[in-house]
Symmetry: C2
Subunit: 80 residues, 2 copies
């Protein structure tokens, strides 16, 4: 996974989750330092529909496997 | 919500999420300082079945509304 590519892709996540991984709205989770395996599973589940959320189901749909790995690596890399 | 009651209830969460809110297994998320609204929704969704996870679907089922509020307040209170 490529943290730099994850950071670039995270521009579309920042309104809710921040580029610092600290959520900007109360209903979104903080992601900074979150476990990478957990983040990969969350994005895959939103993409597949196994997990549902109005916003996340929409934005996760077009993500590739690489996008998901890179985003998870980036948010994990921010540390807690 | 009652943080002390949440701490007491969290004894059943600690194997995976820790009493410090730092996950003890890679597939579980860190919860320390997580947004309270997000944690309440996660537990309600696991309880209702809207969100599925082998472990969480099982352990969330018997939680009362108060348990959920107290657990969310406790893990939020730990800070990031």
């Amino acid at each position: 996974a490529d943290v730099a590519k994850g950071r670039a892709k995270a521009v579309q996540c920042q309104a809710c989750h921040g580029m610092d991984g600290v959520a900007k709205i109360p209903e979104a989770p903080n992601l900074a330092g979150q476990n990478e395996d957990y983040l990969v599973k969350a994005l895959k589940d939103f993409k597949s529909g196994a997990r549902q959320n109005d916003m996340m189901s929409l934005v996760a749909k077009p993500l590739s496997e690489d996008d998901i790995a890179n985003l998870a690596a980036f948010y994990h890399s921010l540390g807690r």
